[in-house]
Subunit: 972 residues, 2 copies
C-alpha cells in the first residue's frame, strides 16, 4: 500500500492550518482531587503544570520540584476512551461554575450517561469548595511549630467556595506563583474524584467560549478555558489520578493545546491524542525506575518544529526521526563559518566603514540606556582593576625599556584617553584597549637604536602606521579575517590566556625572590640574627661627601652626615650614604613572601568558588547571582581586608599622584621635525608596516573572538570602524608621547563575561537561557574615565596589595580558557573514551583524528610560545598569519567533513564542498551509512513500511473499542 | 465487566510459572545492519546491549556511552506485527549459520512469505561477513593518523566470514569487552538490512535449541541463542533500524528474555511484547528532547519484583503503580529501627557475651585473609597517623595534667597495647580505641585531689570500673542501647566531629600565637630589628650560680659561665642563665605561622580535592580509585615534601625514642597496696561508677555508629564482647600506669570509610554499588603495632610537620560529618524550598516540622557543647543519656509518622504503632489521600476501571491489523 497520511494527521493538519496567525494562549493546568473527610468533601489541589509537572507532596505539604510528567501508556489509552465515550462540550457559554456544572450534568443526562436521579448528587460534588496548596508565610510556620499533629484544616492551604464570588480572592491575588505564568495564560482545570453514588465513570471535557474566572476554582487569578471532570466509583482512585495526569500533560503540550483550542468535535480531540501518542518517547521498564522524577531538560523541541513536521505532509516520518539515539547520523552539519555581511568585500572606497557607521548609529541611545544595571557596577570595578594593574605593569616595564620616556604616568593617561575614545566611538565598544606585549618589545628595540631621537622617530612611525591603517580601512581589507577560523582564533586566544596565566604566576614567584625567606631561621637563635649598618672608614666617607652631588642638601645635612649615628640608619639610607650592611638578617624579609602567596592564591580560589556558588543550591537565586556577578569584587575586598587587618607591609598598588611626564625633560607634545635627518621621516614607514600588521592582527582577532557567535551579540560588529579609531589613536598617542593601544583579548573576554545576561526562567523547571551580553558603551567609558582619575583615587587604591591583583590576573587567564573548544579537546587526552562528554564532534569524527587536530594546535602553540619568549616576538603578529597558513595546509590532512566539525570550512571551499555534498547525496541510495553527511539538510526519507495493500480502515469501523489506532498500527 | 486478567498476562503467568528454579541466562544482544559498498555487502555492528544500549557512533567510529534505550511507540507496534506475521522458529536445531539460514529461508518459502526464486538471494545476503566495532590499539591509531580520509577497510574493525569457522576468532577472544558480560551469557543477534530484491519485509525470529557459537557472527565469543532477521525493500532503513532497536531492547529486558526462552509459540512472544508495552514509561514529546541520551539510572526495579507483580494475579495494577511520581504516596514507611538479635535481652548469665563469641568465631580466618588488599595499606597509614597524632596530643595534655605520671611515652605504649588487644579479640575490630576528652578531664580532677597517692587510687578506680563493666557484660546491659536512635547517635557523632574540627582549628590558630608575626616589620628598617641577650649585672649572675643546682656541670662550665659571651647565647640559654632579652625582634618569629597555615590548609584542601578526583572524568577508573583511596597519604607526602624543600623550622612530630616511663620516679607496674588508707580501696568504687558510665556510653554509641545499617556490615557486631575487653584493658592499663582507652568515634568512622568496597560494575552503564566494608582485624592490628614501634620510626616521623597532621584532623572531622542526615537537614535551612534535594523525608514530612526537629537537635548540641567546654565535662556521658530523654519527650511533640521518617521509632512504641497502622488502614477506604501511610506495605488496590460489560475479544478476530491490544484497550 502506498503510505497514506493517517486520518489523525489529516484532521490535525486541517484544523491547525486554519488560521495560523493567531497564536493560542499558554495553558496553566491545575489538577484537583476530591478529598473525603468523614462526610465532608472538598477538592484539593494535587498537581499543576505550567510546562512541567509540579506535584503536591502529600506528607511534605509542599510543591515537588518541576519534573517531566512520566505517564503510563495505559492511562493515555484510557483517556482516549474517556474522550470517546464521555461528554464533550465545546464552546460552552459559561459565566459561573454552577451554571457550567448544570450544563455538563444536563448533557450527561440527555446523552443517557447518568440517570436524572444523580443530577443533584453530581452537582453537589462538583460544587464543593477548592483547597489550594500555597506557600506558607514563615511566621505562620513558626506559630505552627508547636503542634504535634497535622490538623485537618491546615492554615497553609486556602479554601474557597465556588458559589461565593467570581472575583479572584485575596489568596489568589497574593499568590507569587503568578509571576511564573505568562500574562496571556488561560487555565485548564482537571477535577478527579471517587464518589460512592456512581457505578461507572462520569467524564466531561468542556471548552468555554470565553475564558472566565470561576471564583476560587484555580490557584491563581487566571481565567479558566478548559474543564475536565472525571468522577467514578470508589476503588480506582489511582487509575483516575493517572488519567487526570495524562489529560493535564496533554493540555500543556504545545501541539495538543492548539488542537484543543481549535477542535470542532470529539474526533479532533481523539486525533490530537493519537498524534501525541505517535510522538511519545518510550522508556523500557527494565532500564528505568518509574519512581525517578526526571528533571526538565535544558532544551525541548520547539512546538513550531513539531507542527511543521505535521504540515510537511509526511506524518509517518515523525516516528523515524523521533527515534532518539538512532537518528544521530542525520544531524545537520554544523552551520558553516559565517561572519555576516559585516565582512563582505564592498568594493567601494570606505564601503565597509560606511556600513559599519550605518549599522551603529541606530543603537546610539540604547548604547547608553542599556548600561544602567547593577551588573555594570561589578563589570566596571572588575575591568577597572584589571586595566590599572595592566597600566601599572606595562607602564613600569615601558619606563624601564625607554628610560622613562614613557612611564606609569603616560601609561595611565594613554589608557584613559585611548580607551575612552574607543568605547565612545568604536565599532565594538565591548573591546577593551590596552598595552600588549609585542608592542612593548617593539618599543624596547626601537629605543635601543640610540643614534636617532626616539620620541620623534616614534611619532613618525605612529603617523605612518595610522596612515596604513586608514588605507586598510578604506579598502575593506578587514574582510580577509573571514579566513580566521576557530583554529586560528583559539590558537591566538589560548596563547594570550597562557601568557596571562604565566605572567601572574611569574609575578607571584617573583615576590619570593623579592622577599627572600630566611629558611635556616631557628626561633631559638633569634639573638644571633641582625643586620647592622657599618660606617665606611672616615676617609671613604669624606671622599663620598665630595664626589656625590648633593645639590639640594644644605650644610646642616652635611653636618649631620659627618656626625651620623650609623646604627640608626635604614637600609636604604645606609646604602645611600655608603655604609655597608653587615649581618645574617640583611638579605631576608620575613612573612611577606608567604602572605603574598596566601593573598594571591586566596583571591583566585575565592573568586572561583564564588563563581561556582552561582549554581549552588543555597540561598535564593537573586542572592546567588548577585554574589556570582560580584565574585571578583568580593574576593578583592575580602583579601584587601585581610591584608589590612594583618597590617603587613605587602607591596601595594601605587599610582602616580601628580600629572606630569615621568621624565622631567620631555613635555606633553612631541614635535615632528627638527631632531632627526629628513630620510628618517620616510624610512620610518618600514618599521611602521610591522606595527600595522601587529595592530591589525591583534585588533581584529580580538574582535573576532569578542564577536563570536556564542556571545549572541545583537548590535553587530564594526571591524572597519574599530580599525579606523585604533589608527587615529595611534597618531594622537604618538603626538602626545603616550604608548600605543590595541584590543586586549583577555580583558575584553572578561568584560563580556561580566556583562552576560540570562533569562529569568519562566515556567518552573525551565532552564534559564543565555540571552546575550549587555552591549553598551557605558561600562567601557566608565572604566577608562576611572583610570584617568585614578590619580585622585590614590588614597583608596593604596590599600590594594599587588598579590591580590595578580590573583585577579590569574583568574582572568583561566576564565578566558573556559569554553574554548581547543581546551576541551586537550582534556580529552586525559579521559578514557567512555568518560568523555558527549560532544557532537565526537559523534562524527574519529577520536584519533580529533586528537591529531588537537596535537597540531598544540604544536603551533608551542612554536608561538617559544617565539614570543625570544626577541622574535616582534614578528609575533606575522606568526598569526602563519597559523592561518597552517590551517590552510590542514585541508590536505583532514577531510572537509572532519574540519567542518572540528573547525570551520575555509570560505573558498564552500562551493567545492557543496558539490561534494551533492555527489554524496546521490551516492546515498547505494551507500547506506555514508560517514559524510552532506552539508545541507536532506529531506527525510519516507519511513512507514510500505507493504501489501492495506486499505485505510474507515473510521466508522474502528470508532469503538478497541480504539482506532490505525496510524499506530504497523504497515508492514 | 469484572476486571479479568488480560490474556497476555494469563499466558505469561502460565509459561513463566513453569519451572522457576532454573534461571535463564543473561542475554547479550548485538545489532548488525547491512552495509552496501558498491556491489559489496557486509554486516556492520551498529549497536549492542548488555543491559543498556551502546551505539556505534558512525562518524566517531567509537562506542557511545551506555544509555537507556528510548524507543518509539510506533516501532514497538511494528515489531509486534513483525512477530505476528513473520516466521517464528522456536527450538531450531542449529549447528552453523548456513544451515540455520537455510532453515529460515525454507520456512519462509513454505509459508509462502517469499517466492522460491528469492531463496538464493536471501541466503547470500544473510551469509555476508560481519564487521565488528573494536577498540583500536593505540599504536594502530597512531599509524593511522597521517591518513587524510577514512579508508573503507578500516583496520579498527575486524571482519569475519561466517562460513569459515565455528570457533571464536582471535579478534573475538581478545575482546576486552568480554569482561563486561556475565560468564553464563548467551547472545541474541539482530540483523537489519535493506535489499533491492524484496518488495515486502522478510522477518524471522529464531530460538536455537542449544546456544551455538556461529563463527564471527557475534563480537564476543558468546554462543548465540536467538536470531532476529529483518530484511526489507529500500527506503525504510530508519524504520527497520528502530524495529531492530526495539527487539534488541526487548531481548535484554529481564521479563521478556524469560518469555523468549520459555515461549511455546508466536502468541507467547506477542503476549510478552504486550506485557512490555503495559509497563513502559511514556515521556510527553513536548517535555523531552528525544535526542538526549538518558544516562542509566542508579537503580532499576528488579526483575523479581516485576515478575512477582505478574504472579500476584493483579496484572492490571502494574499500570497504576508504574505511574511514577503519581505513586509516591504509597512508598513504604522506612524500615523500623532494628539493631538485630545482637541486642536482644537473653536473660541468661553472660548470654549476650556467649552469643557474641559464637557469632565471631566463624569469621576468624576471613578476619585476616580479607585484610590483604591494597586499600588496607592506605587505611593503615591513614589511621596510624591519626592515632599517633592523637597519642602525642593526649599524651602531652595528660603529662601536663598529671605532672608526667602519664606522658607521651605511656600514651604510645597504652594505645599500642589496648588497640592491639581490642582489634585482635574485640567484637568489632573496625573500632579504633583512643584516649578521649572526658577521660582526660577525669584524670586531671583526680590528680588535683592531692592528699591521696594518685597512681594507686587510679589503679583501684580502674579495677572497680573493670568489675562494673564485667557486671554490665554479664547482665546483657548493652541491650539498652537499642533506645539510641538516629537522634542520639547523630547528636553524639556531630558533637565529636565538631570537637575534632574545633581542635584542629584551635591548634592552627595556636601556632599564630606560638610564632607571633611582626606585623609592623618594614623591610627597609631591617637594620633596626634585633634581639640581644643582655647579661644580668655581675652580682646577680653570681647569686644565680650559687642558687641553682648544676650538679652535672663541672668546673669548666662554671668558669665559662662567668666568662660568658652573652651575645652568643641562644634565646633559651640566655633565659636559662638569667640573661634578659632586649630588642624589638625578640618576641616575633617570622614565616613559621604562615607556612604552618599553608601546610594545614593545603593538606586539608588537597585531600578533599583528591577524594573528589575519584569521581572525575579523567584517567581510568583504577587509577582514580587508587588516588582516591590514597588521597590522605598523598596529601601528607606532598606537604611534607614542600615543608622539607622549604626547610623552614616548622614544628615537627617528635616521638619518644627510648622506652622508659616519662617520670623517672615511677616504674612500669603500679602496686595496689601500701600508699593509701584502706577505705580508699572501697570508696574508689564511687568515682569508678562515673568512669564506667562514661566508658559504656562512649564505647557503645561509637559501636552503634560503626555498626550502622548504611555500612552494610556482614559479620555482625559484638557489643558485649567489646565492653568485656574494654573493661579488662581498663584493669591492665591501671596496673601498668597507662591511660585508659575507649572507642574513638571519628577515627573509627575514618577507618571504615577507608575500607569501603564498591562493586566493579558489570554491565556497561550500571552504577557501581557500595558493597560493604572490608571487615577484618588486620588493619587495626597493624595500626597499633606500628604505633608501638613508632619509637623506632622517629627518624622518619620527624619529617612530618604538625600543621599537616592538624590538616588531617580537620579532614577527619569534616568527613565524618558527611552523610549524617542531621547535617543535611541543617543545610536545608539555607536552601529555598525549590532547590532542596529530593530526600524521601521531605516528601512525607512538612518542611517546618523537619526544621523544628533539626532545631531541637541543634539546641541539644549547643547545650552539650557548652557543657563539655566547662568542668561539667566529666558528666558528659550522663548528658548523652539526657539526649535519650529528650528524644523520648519528642514523642509528645512529633507524630510517630514524622519521627519514623526523621528518626526511628523507639522500641516500646513498636506495638502501639502497629495498632495505629491498622487503624489507619481501616480508615483508608473513606479517607482517600491519608497523609499517614501505614507502616506495612498494603496490597495495591485494583486499578482497571470496571465498566459496562465488554466481552474479551476472541484472539482470532484481532490477529491481523489493527493488532489485538485488548489488554491495552481501556476498560471503562
Amino acid at each position: 500500500c502506498v503510505h497514506a497520511v493517517s486520518p489523525a494527521a489529516e484532521r490535525l493538519r486541517y484544523i491547525l492550518g486554519e488560521d495560523d496567525d493567531m497564536p493560542t494562549p499558554t495553558l496553566f493546568t491545575e489538577m484537583d482531587t476530591l478529598q473525603h473527610d468523614g462526610d465532608e468533601m472538598e477538592w484539593k489541589e494535587s498537581a499543576r503544570w505550567v510546562k512541567f509537572e509540579e506535584k503536591v507532596e502529600e506528607g511534605g505539604e509542599r510543591w515537588s520540584k518541576p519534573h517531566v510528567s512520566t505517564l503510563t501508556l495505559h492511562s493515555l489509552f484510557e483517556l482516549r476512551t474517556c474522550i470517546q465515550t464521555g461528554s464533550v462540550l465545546l464552546d460552552l457559554e459559561g459565566y459561573s461554575l454552577p451554571q457550567i456544572v448544570d450544563d455538563i450534568v444536563d448533557r450527561q443526562v440527555a446523552d443517557g450517561l447518568i440517570g436524572p436521579e444523580l443530577r443533584e448528587k453530581v452537582s453537589f460534588v462538583l460544587l464543593r469548595k477548592h483547597r489550594h496548596q500555597h506557600k506558607k508565610p514563615i511566621h505562620l510556620s513558626l506559630a505552627d511549630m508547636g503542634k504535634s499533629n497535622n490538623s485537618p484544616t491546615n492554615p497553609s492551604q486556602s479554601r474557597s467556595m465556588n458559589d461565593i464570588s467570581d472575583k479572584p480572592s485575596t489568596d489568589q491575588m497574593k499568590n507569587k506563583f503568578m509571576k511564573k505564568i505568562p500574562r496571556d495564560a488561560e487555565a485548564s482545570n482537571v477535577l478527579i474524584g471517587e464518589v460512592d453514588f456512581l457505578d461507572k465513570p462520569f467524564v466531561a471535557f468542556v471548552r468555554l467560549a470565553q475564558a472566565t474566572t470561576l471564583g476560587g476554582l484555580t490557584e491563581v487569578p487566571v481565567p479558566t478555558r478548559f474543564l475536565f471532570v472525571l468522577l467514578g466509583p470508589h476503588g480506582k482512585g489511582k487509575s483516575y489520578n493517572e488519567i487526570g495526569r495524562a489529560i493535564a500533560t496533554l493540555m500543556v503540550d504545545d501541539l495538543f493545546s492548539d488542537v484543543a483550542y481549535k477542535a470542532r468535535d470529539r474526533d479532533d480531540l481523539v486525533a490530537g491524542i493519537d498524534e501525541f501518542l505517535d510522538e511519545v518517547i518510550v522508556l523500557p521498564p527494565g532500564e528505568w525506575d518509574p519512581k525517578i522524577r526526571i528533571e526538565p531538560p535544558k532544551k525541548v523541541p520547539s512546538a513550531d518544529m513539531r507542527k511543521s513536521v505535521l504540515n510537511l505532509n509526511e506524518l509517518g516520518q515523525v516516528n523515524g526521526t523521533a527515534g532518539g539515539p538512532g537518528g544521530g547520523e542525520d544531524e545537520e552539519m554544523p552551520t558553516p563559518h559565517e561572519l555576516g555581511e559585516e565582512l563582505q568585500f564592498t568594493g567601494r572606497f570606505c564601503g565597509g566603514l560606511w556600513l559599519d557607521i550605518k549599522r551603529k548609529v541606530p543603537w546610539i541611545l540604547s548604547d547608553f540606556s542599556q548600561g544602567f544595571h547593577i551588573q555594570s557596577i561589578s563589570a566596571v570595578l572588575f575591568i577597572y582593576l584589571g586595566c590599572i594593574t595592566n597600566a601599572i605593569t606595562f607602564g613600569g616595564l615601558l619606563g624601564d625599556a625607554t628610560d622613562n620616556y614613557q612611564g606609569v604616568m603616560e601609561s595611565f593617561l594613554g589608557t584613559a584617553l585611548a580607551g575612552t575614545v574607543f568605547c565612545l566611538l568604536g565599532g565594538q565598544p565591548l573591546i577593551i584597549l590596552s598595552s600588549t606585549g609585542p608592542i612593548l618589545i617593539f618599543e624596547k628595540l626601537l629605543y635601543e637604536s640610540n643614534t636617532i631621537d626616539y620620541m620623534e622617530l616614534r611619532l613618525w612611525i605612529g603617523l605612518h602606521s595610522c596612515l596604513q591603517c586608514l588605507i586598510l580601512v578604506a579598502t575593506d581589507a578587514s574582510y580577509i579575517i573571514k579566513y580566521i577560523t576557530r583554529f586560528t582564533e583559539e590558537g591566538f586566544s589560548s596563547l594570550i590566556s597562557f601568557i596571562f596565566i604565566s605572567d601572574a604566576i611569574k609575578k607571584m614567584v617573583g615576590s619570593f625572590k623579592y622577599y627572600p625567606i630566611n629558611r635556616v631561621f631557628k626561633p631559638d637563635y633569634v639573638t644571633t640574627y641582625r643586620c647592622d649598618c657599618i660606617a665606611p672608614d672616615q676617609a671613604a666617607a669624606m671622599a663620598f661627601n665630595v664626589s656625590v652631588p648633593l645639590a639640594d642638601d644644605n650644610m646642616t645635612d652635611l653636618y649631620n652626615l659627618t656626625g651620623l649615628d650609623w646604627s640608626q640608619l635604614s637600609k636604604k639610607e645606609c646604602v645611600k650614604y655608603g655604609g655597608a650592611l653587615l649581618g645574617n638578617a640583611c638579605k631576608y624579609v620575613p612573612d611577606l613572601a608567604l602572605i603574598s602567596f596566601i593573598l594571591f592564591f586566596g583571591t583566585y580560589s575565592m573568586t572561583v568558588s564564588l563563581k561556582k556558588f552561582k549554581t549552588s543550591r543555597y540561598f535564593p537565586t537573586k542572592c546567588r547571582s548577585l554574589v556570582g556577578d560580584f565574585s571578583i569584587i568580593i574576593s578583592i575586598l575580602v583579601f584587601c581586608g585581610i591584608d589590612y587587618l594583618l597590617g603587613l607591609d605587602t607591596p601595594k598598588l601605587h599610582v602616580p599622584t601628580e600629572v606630569k611626564p615621568t621624565r622631567p625633560d620631555r613635555g606633553w607634545v612631541v614635535m615632528p621635525f627638527g631632531k632627526n635627518p629628513w630620510w628618517v621621516y620616510v624610512a620610518s614607514g618600514v618599521p611602521a608596516l610591522l606595527v600595522t600588521i601587529l595592530i591589525f592582527m591583534d585588533q581584529q582577532i580580538s574582535a573576532v573572538i569578542v564577536n563570536r557567535k556564542e556571545n549572541k551579540l545583537k548590535k553587530g560588529c564594526g571591524y572597519h570602524l574599530d580599525l579606523f579609531w585604533v589608527g587615529i589613536l595611534m597618531a594622537v598617542c604618538s603626538f602626545l608621547g603616550l604608548p600605543w593601544y590595541v584590543a586586549a583579548t583577555v580583558i575584553s573576554i572578561a568584560h563580556i563575561d561580566s556583562l552576560k545576561m540570562e533569562s529569568e526562567s519562566s515556567a518552573p523547571g525551565e532552564q534559564p537561557q543565555f540571552l546575550g551580553v549587555r552591549e553598551q558603551r557605558l561600562t567601557g567609558i566608565l572604566v577608562f574615565v576611572l583610570t584617568g582619575v585614578s590619580i585622585f583615587l590614590a588614597p583608596v587604591l593604596q590599600y590594594i596589595p599587588m598579590p591580590v591583583l595578580y590573583g585577579v590576573f590569574l583568574y582572568m587567564g583561566v576564565a578566558s580558557l573556559a569554553g574554548i573548544q581547543f581546551w576541551e579537546r586537550i582534556k580529552l587526552y586525559l579521559m578514557p573514551a567512555k568518560h568523555q562528554p558527549d560532544f557532537s564532534f565526537l559523534r562524527h569524527v574519529p577520536l584519533r583524528r580529533v586528537h591529531l587536530f588537537t596535537l597540531v594546535q598544540i604544536i603551533c602553540l608551542a612554536v608561538l610560545w617559544t617565539l614570543k619568549s625570544t626577541v622574535a616576538a616582534i614578528i609575533f603578529p606575522v606568526m598569526i598569519l602563519g597559523l592561518m597558513v597552517v590551517r590552510k595546509m590542514m585541508d590536505l590532512m583532514f577531510s572537509q567533513h572532519d574540519l567542518a566539525w572540528l573547525d570551520d570550512i575555509l570560505p573558498e571551499k564552500d562551493k567545492k564542498k557543496e558539490k561534494d555534498g551533492k555527489k554524496k547525496k546521490d551516492n546515498k541510495r547505494t551507500k547506506a551509512a555514508d560517514p559524510l553527511p552532506p552539508p545541507v539538510k536532506i529531506p527525510m526519507d519516507t519511513i512507514g513500511l510500505p507493504s501489501a495493500p492495506d486499505p485505510p480502515s474507515p473510521p466508522s469501523l474502528t470508532v469503538s473499542s478497541p480504539p482506532s489506532l490505525t496510524h499506530l498500527a504497523p504497515r508492514l
